[in-house]
Structure formats: structure tokens, C-alpha cells
């Protein structure tokens, strides 16, 4: 309903990412490039998945298990790509360190590495928000709105924007956790990320039931805040032990 509502929905999904972008990422050009590449990677994974699943669509809308399978395979594929992303990042880190040595500047700091991970995660999150929420928002700029049967209390655009916000948070910060887990060899972190992603995906299946979004969305936000807290604790721990190490 009108341009104001359309912009409102877009900002609801992408507002925090926009502020993250402006405050942290836009200052360093390399991070902008990282965001763009990880967005492209996520889009490619989505296209591959849709290519695989296209023949089965449209799925029967009565039973929930085909959708469960769809989500499970998609998440498994994307988590596999995350490992690939990590390997590419490792090689890039070596390249950057060599370059830093050549121009006689210090090697990558801990905060630099975390910022790159954050940028990667933000790319994934923004890609999710753009393709699952923003690209469907075009009718919202017009004079009317749209309601889905299963969640008929609030407009569809609002629901998808809210869900997109939760997923943006999950994607952004789980990348930081994952990279840190791979770097430290921390098994807990390494397992935490795929599990959280899978649980979040499965929780959206709850929306399948009529009126299910009343339960599904708060659960999703619980998972998102869990990710946020875990990431915060981990970053705090890394930075303080880094600082104490330098103090010695």
C-alpha cells in the first residue's frame, strides 16, 4: 500500500544491515567487495537449488514433508558452500599477508579477520533478504496489499519482512562464529552454525500450520538472539585474550 509502506517493509528487513554497512563496511573498500562476492555466492547456491528442485514444483500444498525435504537439502548445500567459502578465505588470507609483507605493513589483525567474516555473513544475509523479501515487494508499492491464508492477521509483506530480518541476523553472525570456529578448530562453534541454520529453517515449517506464524516467528527470533549472544560472547573472549596476550 503506497510507496511509504513499501519502503517501510524494505527497511524493516534491511535496516540493521544498512546501518552495519554504513558504519563498518563502507569505510573499507575490501569489505564492500567481500559483501558483493558473498551475495553472489549465495545467489548462485540459490539458483543451483532452484534448478534442482524446479521439476518438482509446484509441490502439493497439503503435506509438509516435501517442503521439509526441500529445506533440509537446501540448508545442507548452503552449509557445504560455507566450508568452501572458508577454504577460499584461507587462501585469500595468505595472499593478503604476503601482500602486506611486500608493502611493509602489518599483517591482518584479529579485528580485520573478524570484519571480513562479518562482511561475508552480511552478504549472505542481504542476499536472503533481497531474494526472499525485497524482490516480492513490488506490489507493496501499489495501492493494495496481500494476505496469505495461513497467517491472515498481518499482511504477507510484513510477515516476510520480519522473517527476513531474523534470517539476516542469523546469517550475518553465524558466519563470524563459523570462521572463528574453523580458525580455532573449535568443534562446538563448527557444529553450532549448521545446527542453528537447520533448526531455523525447520522452525519456519511451523508456519505451515494455519495460524502457525504466531508461534513460528517468536521461535525464530529466539534462535536469532541465541546466535547473536553466542557470537558476542565468542568475540569478547577472543578480543580479551588477544589483548591480554599483547599485554604480556
Amino acid at each position: 500500500m503506497t510507496v511509504a509502506a513499501g519502503i517501510g517493509y524494505a527497511l524493516l528487513a534491511l535496516g540493521p544491515s544498512l546501518s552495519l554497512f554504513v558504519s563498518v563496511i563502507s569505510k573499507k573498500p575490501f569489505l564492500i567487495l567481500t559483501v558483493l562476492s558473498s551475495t553472489l555466492l549465495w545467489l548462485t547456491s540459490l539458483i543451483v537449488l532452484s534448478g534442482v528442485w524446479r521439476v518438482f514444483l509446484p509441490l502439493k500444498s497439503t503435506s509438509w514433508w516435501p517442503y521439509g525435504l526441500l529445506i533440509f537439502t537446501s540448508i545442507a548445500f548452503q552449509e557445504g558452500l560455507r566450508v568452501l567459502f572458508w577454504k577460499v578465505y584461507k587462501r585469500l588470507e595468505d595472499l593478503l599477508d604476503n601482500f602486506a609483507d611486500k608493502v611493509s605493513k602489518p599483517r591482518l589483525f584479529q579485528t580485520d579477520k573478524m570484519q571480513i567474516a562479518l562482511a561475508g555473513g552480511l552478504g549472505h544475509g542481504v542476499a536472503h533478504a533481497v531474494f526472499f523479501c525485497l524482490s516480492l515487494l513490488t506490489p507493496a508499492f501499489g495501492p493494495a496489499t496481500f494476505f496469505v491464508d495461513r497467517c491472515s492477521q498481518i499482511p504477507f509483506f510484513l510477515v516476510s519482512a520480519i522473517i527476513a530480518l531474523a534470517f539476516v541476523t542469523i546469517h550475518t553472525f553465524s558466519m563470524v562464529i563459523a570462521f572463528n570456529g574453523y580458525a580455532e578448530g573449535n568443534k562446538v562453534d563448527q557444529v553450532f552454525v549448521p545446527v542453528v541454520h537447520l533448526v531455523a529453517g525447520m522452525v519456519t515449517l511451523v508456519n505451515f500450520a494455519s495460524g502457525g506464524c504466531i508461534i513460528g516467528i517468536p521461535l525464530l527470533y529466539f534462535i536469532a538472539s541465541l546466535t547473536l549472544i553466542h557470537c558476542g560472547k565468542m568475540v569478547w573472549r577472543r578480543l580479551t585474550e588477544n589483548r591480554s596476550r599483547q599485554g604480556n
Binding site: K27, T39, L46, S50, R54, F99, F131, C133
Partner: protein, 438 residues
């Protein structure tokens, strides 16, 4: 805090040149998408019949033809277009060879005026009509005239702030791209692919007109007259304006023994951009050659051919003499053995990356045409084009010679458009409407 006293990390400035070229490309694409979505919502698709130009001379697409007919018609249109582009490029090479630079310069200024004045005026009229902006004729004409004249001065004479020149170049690219999106759908797509192939051939084949142009320019150590967007070079180590000018002089020392990595990147930047410029200039030139009632066409022709006299005026002339003794060594010889890929892209040097206006235009045409279908295709094509641009810049660093900027981006863009339209959209809509996301 201890952090403030640490030396700056490499992450602070790495990749800045690439961002400085991606930003204006993105702005141009964004503006074209906005224009297309705002203006097209009012007009119907049958207006495609009203666009008469060289690009539709062979076949005018109507909604009732079959897909195969449309495809064949579009193919004919594109072949005619590419043929005209080739002829005009060869004429340009001839004129450049005969040293008619003044004529080319004047022609370019004239075209810039007509593009900004007439095309800009037409689009402004559409906008005024759509939004019912109250403005009277005289104010409008005066404002438009001033706008066009300042634009001509900005691209024609370089004494303006660089931001103004860059802004006007982006505006010119946007106006021409919007005009191109008015072509019928099949014609647009086949034309994009045809221009990408033409660009590839014209730059890499030894008989290609653009390659001849580059070699002529290198042998004479002159700038090619064409419209080109120049991203400001990154100042390194606090060197001020003199440093910048000196570095750009280094750029013109093709084959000089100044084997800083700057000189390595700059000749290439020169070539890369050259290619793009000319492909762009020709394409637009052709559009105009049409014996058409609309004067817009004429604008386009001259538009791109004039260019960088801008840089000549910036005070480089005194330094030109220093380069007369530069031997004509293949820039490849200057590559330092340990030059990493990162330095080659221009990350370590302060060479300015230049991109021809034709590339701006065709990227924006692709995205604008994607916008006419849906916004999902816009996002996908945007990412694909930026990826293609990044790959082209990386290849430039690797091969150190003139490269066309259109093929990779257009190929990726068309691929992603097709994949998104036929595969991704159904998948995402299905998942979203059931509120299932991952």
C-alpha cells in the same frame, strides 16, 4: 586505546580503485532502473512500434508474432546494427589517422549537447507529465539549456571539478541507456549479445577497428577522442596534486623504463578503457546514423567520439615533451617478476581505472530490460554484471593488454537473467508464499 596507535592495516585501502569504478556503474544502473520503473508503468508495451531507429530497421516486433519470427527478426536487426557500428568505427579510425581531431572534438561536443538537451528534455517532459510538476515553458527551456551547456563544458573542457564531469558522464550514459531500453524485447537481448561479440572481435582480432585505434594512439602517443569515465586515482603516501599529475604522466609513458608498478597498470588501464569507449561510442553512433525524424539519434552519433581532450587540458601538455623519447616497448616487458595479482589490478598502484561510456550504457540497458520483467531479475543481473566487471579487471591485471569489458559481464548478465526468470522465481515465490525460508 591501544588500537589508535597501531599502524594502519592494509585492509583500510585495499581495493579502493575497484570500488571507485563500481560505484558510478552501480549509480548509473540504479538510475536507469528507477527511470524504467517510473516511466514504464504509465506507457503500454505497444509503444515499441513507435521507436524507429537503425536498430529496428530490419524488423519491427509486434506482439502477435511467434517466438521464432521474433528471434529471426531480432537477429536481423542486430546484424544491421553491428554492421553499421563496424562501418562507423572504421570511419573513426580513418579520421583519427588523418588527424582530424578538432573535427572529432567538435562533433563530440555537439552530440553531448544534443543528448543532454533533447534526450534529457524528452525524459524530463515525461517526468513532468507523470508527476504533474508545475513548471512553465520558459523556465524549463532556460534550465534545460543551461544544464546541457554545462554538460558540454564538463566533458569537453576539463577545468571543472572532477565530480561534475563524472556526474555528467553518468547522466549521459543513463539517458542513452534509457533510450535503448525502449527497443522491443527480443531485439534488445540479441543486440546485447551481438555487441558483446562485436566488442570481443574488434578488440582482440588483429584486424579489429578498435585494436587499430589503440595501436594508432599508442604509436602517436595521443589520447583517443572518445567519452570515457575516469575514476580518480588513489593518492598514495600523501603525494598531493603534483603526485597525481606526475603519476598520470607516468601512465602516458608507454614503455618507459619507469618500472614502478604504476606504469604497468596504466598502459593497460589505457587500453582497457579504450576498447570500451570505442565500442560504446560506435554503438551509440550507429543508433544515430538513422535517417530518423527524431533528433535524438543525431546526438548519439557524435556523442562518444570525443573524449579526452579533457585530460590534455589538465596541464599535461608541458609534460608531454618528456615522453617523446619513450621507446615503444610492449608494456608486458615492464612487469616485475614478483608482481602479484593484487598489484596488477591496480590495488597497489595509483593508476586510474578508466571505463568507456559504452560499457556503462550496455550494462544499464541489460539491467533496465531486466527491470521491465521483475525486480528479482534486476538484483540477479546486477550481481552478475559486477562479477563480470571484477573478472575483467582481474584478467586485465593478468594479461596486461587491451581487453573488452562487455563480453564477460553481458554473458553473465544474460545467463543470470535467464536462470532467474525461469528457475529461481518459481522456487522463491513457492517458498515465500508458504512462509518457508532458509
Amino acid at each position: 586505546m591501544a588500537q589508535n596507535t597501531k599502524p594502519t592495516s592494509i585492509l583500510d585501502s585495499l581495493g579502493e580503485e575497484i570500488i571507485r569504478i563500481i560505484a558510478p556503474v552501480s549509480i548509473c544502473m540504479f538510475m536507469v532502473v528507477i527511470l524504467v520503473s517510473v516511466l514504464d508503468s504509465s506507457s503500454s508495451s505497444s509503444t515499441s512500434a513507435s521507436v524507429n531507429s537503425i536498430a529496428t530497421i530490419a524488423y519491427a516486433e509486434t506482439n502477435s508474432d511467434s517466438s521464432w519470427d521474433k528471434f529471426v527478426g531480432a537477429l536481423l536487426n542486430s546484424l544491421v546494427f553491428v554492421a553499421v557500428v563496424t562501418v562507423v568505427t572504421f570511419i573513426l579510425v580513418l579520421l583519427f589517422y588523418l588527424r582530424c581531431t578538432k573535427f572529432l572534438k567538435l562533433y563530440m561536443g555537439f552530440s553531448a549537447f544534443v543528448v543532454l538537451g533533447f534526450m534529457g528534455g524528452e525524459i524530463a517532459l515525461f517526468l513532468i507529465e507523470d508527476f504533474s510538476i508545475p513548471v512553465d515553458c520558459i523556465t524549463f527551456v532556460v534550465a534545460l539549456f543551461n544544464f546541457a551547456v554545462v554538460g558540454v563544458l564538463a566533458v569537453f573542457m576539463s577545468k571543472m571539478a572532477i565530480l561534475v564531469t563524472q556526474a555528467y558522464l553518468v547522466v549521459i550514459g543513463m539517458l542513452v541507456a534509457y533510450w535503448f531500453t525502449q527497443l522491443p524485447e527480443w531485439t534488445t537481448w540479441v543486440l546485447l549479445v551481438a555487441m558483446a561479440l562485436y566488442d570481443l572481435a574488434a578488440v582482440l582480432l588483429p584486424v579489429g577497428p578498435l585494436r587499430l585505434l589503440v595501436e594508432l594512439a599508442i604509436s602517436r602517443d595521443e589520447d583517443i577522442p572518445a567519452l570515457v569515465y575516469e575514476a580518480r586515482p588513489v593518492t598514495c603516501n600523501g603525494s598531493g596534486a603534483e603526485g597525481r599529475v606526475a603519476q598520470r604522466r607516468v601512465w602516458r609513458d608507454r614503455g618507459s623504463e619507469n618500472s614502478d608498478h604504476e606504469s604497468n597498470n596504466n598502459p593497460n588501464a589505457n587500453s582497457v578503457f579504450v576498447e570500451n569507449v570505442d565500442s560504446g561510442s560506435n554503438s551509440t553512433s550507429n543508433a544515430s546514423v538513422v535517417p530518423d525524424s527524431s533528433t535524438e539519434s543525431n546526438t548519439l552519433v557524435s556523442g562518444h567520439n570525443d573524449a579526452t581532450l579533457v585530460r590534455a587540458e589538465e596541464g599535461w601538455v608541458p609534460e608531454r615533451d618528456a615522453e617523446l623519447s619513450a621507446p615503444l616497448i610492449d608494456p608486458r616487458m615492464n612487469i616485475q617478476p614478483q608482481q602479484s595479482e593484487l598489484e596488477g589490478i591496480g590495488l597497489g598502484s595509483s593508476g586510474a581505472i578508466k571505463l568507456g561510456l559504452g560499457d556503462f550504457i550496455f550494462y544499464s540497458v541489460l539491467v533496465g530490460r531486466a527491470a521491465m520483467y521483475d525486480f528479482m531479475t534486476v538484483y540477479a543481473c546486477y550481481l552478475a554484471i559486477i562479477a563480470g566487471l571484477g573478472i575483467t579487471l582481474a584478467l586485465l591485471a593478468l594479461y596486461q593488454k587491451a581487453l573488452p569489458a562487455l563480453p564477460v559481464s553481458i554473458a553473465l548478465g544474460v545467463l543470470f537473467y535467464v536462470l532467474t526468470r525461469f528457475l529461481l522465481e518459481a522456487f522463491v515465490v513457492e517458498c515465500s508464499l508458504n512462509l518457508l525460508m532458509f
